[in-house]
């Protein structure tokens, strides 16, 4: 047997198997080793798949040897391999951090269950990105969401339970809408295979049922990706979840949902239908602009650093959907590259905030005052992440915004280019709130005599800080993949 042939299956199966193994060993330490090893194996598989699809090839894998469209097909192209790389790399970096982090935040007896849930969440997210089957995507969406709710509920603050419950309700509505959409499509086309569905939908896509399916899918997935008015679950979930869970979910969960939306728009319904016949770009444009401004403004008035960054996530998702609404190669490239870079930035930021929480005992800005004197590296990391959120050249946040402006100018939309710049100024406002408290205030009483976070916490965070700079200067991996995927999507999506 040749391993390389089975990479698409192993990509999902290895994390999946690590979850029950983590439950079986019943010890936090062993569970940590198993799940971390699995996440690194998944990263290796993702890198191999990314290399294999770099020239534009598409890999198809028939589960159970039932050929598509009858059986479930795993399908890897440039877009999905890019998302697989993002998700598995985040997991591989975040897991070593998890050990020292949950030591402080989660009771010992629950550690092995935490790792099992993490492995399941990873399985679900990877599965959504790799599957070529609409119903299979729903199943993986539920796997990742249900384990995500549990992970959030593990937060030590009692409000974590309420936050998880709120997310559960909103997420379940989203999943229900998604499955209604898939059901309608199945009814109209008689197939669940995405590629097959795309072929059969051509003649009937003006029909009311297909339009309804598109509407249900859009709203359902938008709930999951926290598009502006549907983002209510996100701030609480990110604020009260354990630090490592916030970092992982912020970097991956919403990004995979964006992937799913793009997949349905371009690979199933077709670009010309969704973006040219329907008023969808206009709707998405309004939502995105609203997200960019309103969420940034709200972020500037938060008193808790995690909450502030959560609202900033909502506004950054606005940039991603803004690029989507342009419906040009450059716009789509901007979306995809910002999706990647924002994941790097927010993942790193939340890891640094986790370091601060571990030392200061909380994430309210009042507690973090004077942080820079006690924890210079952590504060520097948070500022660096903040610069990337603003989009300062040299950090990875700049690349996405640059392409957004380019794409706007290409369409002759000066106003939109200005909107991107102006909303970035709002980002300056909320980043400044942290700078002011950390650098210009006397240290809070609880910081007295404290030192920088232990290396086990700091190293993964610094690694992501390095990545923020690296992807800001060397863009062949991020921008190359995004541009390749965008060209491919625009070509097949007609």
């Amino acid at each position: 047997m040749s391993l390389a042939l089975h990479l698409p299956a192993l990509q999902v199966v290895i994390p999946l198997i690590s979850a029950p193994l983590a439950v079986l060993v019943r010890r936090g330490g062993w569970a940590f080793l198993i799940v971390t090893a699995a996440s690194w194996a998944a990263l290796a598989a993702a890198i191999a798949l990314w290399l294999a699809t770099a020239d534009g090839a598409t890999i198809s894998y028939a589960l159970g040897n039932w050929p598509p469209p009858w059986g479930i097909e795993y399908r890897v192209d440039r877009l999905s391999s890019f998302v697989l790389l993002l998700v598995s790399a985040t997991a591989a970096i975040v897991l070593p951090y998890a050990r020292a982090s949950i030591e402080r935040e989660i009771p010992h007896a629950q550690h092995y269950l935490f790792y099992a849930m993490f492995a399941l969440c990873l399985t679900g997210l990877l599965g959504i990105a790799i599957t070529g089957d609409a119903f299979n995507a729903f199943v993986f969406l539920e796997i990742s969401s249900l384990s995500g709710y549990v992970l959030i509920a593990l937060g030590r603050d009692r409000r974590a339970l309420v936050a998880a419950y709120q997310y559960l309700i909103m997420g379940s509505i989203g999943a229900t809408f998604f499955v209604i959409g898939v059901g309608l499509l199945y009814l109209m086309t008689g197939t669940l295979n995405l590629a097959d569905m795309a072929e059969r939908i051509g003649a009937i896509r003006e029909s009311r049922s297909v339009l309804a399916a598109l509407a249900f899918l859009t709203v359902g997935i938008s709930l999951k990706l926290a598009l502006f008015p549907l983002h209510q679950w996100l701030p609480n979930a990110y604020t009260y979840a354990p630090s490592v869970v916030t970092a992982f979910l912020a970097a991956t969960a919403t990004k995979v949902s964006i992937y799913l939306l793009i997949r349905f728009y371009y690979s199933v319904f077709g670009e010309s239908f969704v973006f040219q016949k329907l008023p969808l770009p206009e709707i998405m444009l309004v939502m995105s602009i609203a997200a960019m401004f309103v969420a940034s403004l709200v972020a500037a008035f938060q008193n808790d650093l995690k909450r502030l960054l959560a609202y900033s996530s909502v506004s950054q998702i606005g940039y991603i959907t803004l690029g989507l609404s342009y419906d040009t190669v450059n716009g789509l490239t901007a979306s995809l590259v910002h999706m990647f870079n924002h994941a790097v930035t927010k993942g790193g930021l939340f890891l640094f905030v986790g370091c601060a929480v571990a030392v200061a005992g909380g994430s309210s800005l009042a507690r973090l005052s004077g942080l820079a004197r006690v924890m210079p590296l952590t504060s520097f990391g948070i500022v660096l992440g903040g610069l990337s959120l603003i989009g300062v050249p040299g950090t990875c946040g700049f690349i996405g915004k640059w392409y957004l402006i380019l794409a706007a100018l290409e369409k002759g939309q000066w106003g939109l280019a200005m909107a991107v710049v102006t909303s970035s100024l709002l980002a300056v406002a909320y980043v400044w709130r942290f700078v002011e408290t950390a650098y210009f205030r006397e240290p809070h009483a609880s910081l007295a005599g404290r030192k920088e976070a232990p290396p086990a916490l700091l190293a993964p965070a610094l690694l992501l800080a390095g990545a923020m700079l690296y992807f800001g200067l060397e863009t062949s991996v991020s921008l190359g993949s995004a541009a390749g995927a965008a060209v491919m999507l625009m070509a097949v999506g007609k």
Binding site: M1, R26, Y61, G64
Partner: protein, 141 residues
Amino acid sequence: MRHDLVLRVIAKLMMPFTLLFALYVQFHGDFGPGGGFQAGVIAAAMVILYALIYGLDQARKALPDWLVETMLAGGVLLYAGVGMAGLMLGGNFLDYFVLHADPVQGQHRGIFWVEAGVAVTVSGVMLKIFYMFAGRGRDPE
């Protein structure tokens, strides 16, 4: 319910038949309604009946927590193991055709073990949920 003799005797009488019915549903799943999920629920219902009549502690003595957790993980592993077996024998993941020289027999064999995995996990999960609800207020949080 220490003194309800009728309940205690009837429950004890019912239990082997419940388990037999679970096994029937499990193995007849190939040809009629049923399968691992339903069988797992029925088997778990037997233990839950036992716990209702004889008390949670007795049930936990018979089926301790660690065993229940092993069941819910073991079933998934069994399922995934069948998938990996297909991969090892030269097919794709979850390929049942290669599990036997005769592909039709291979399909039978594959679905048999997969359903066994489903049954074990489902009854494990049912019991875990029951134990957690029933143990609320007694177990340390």
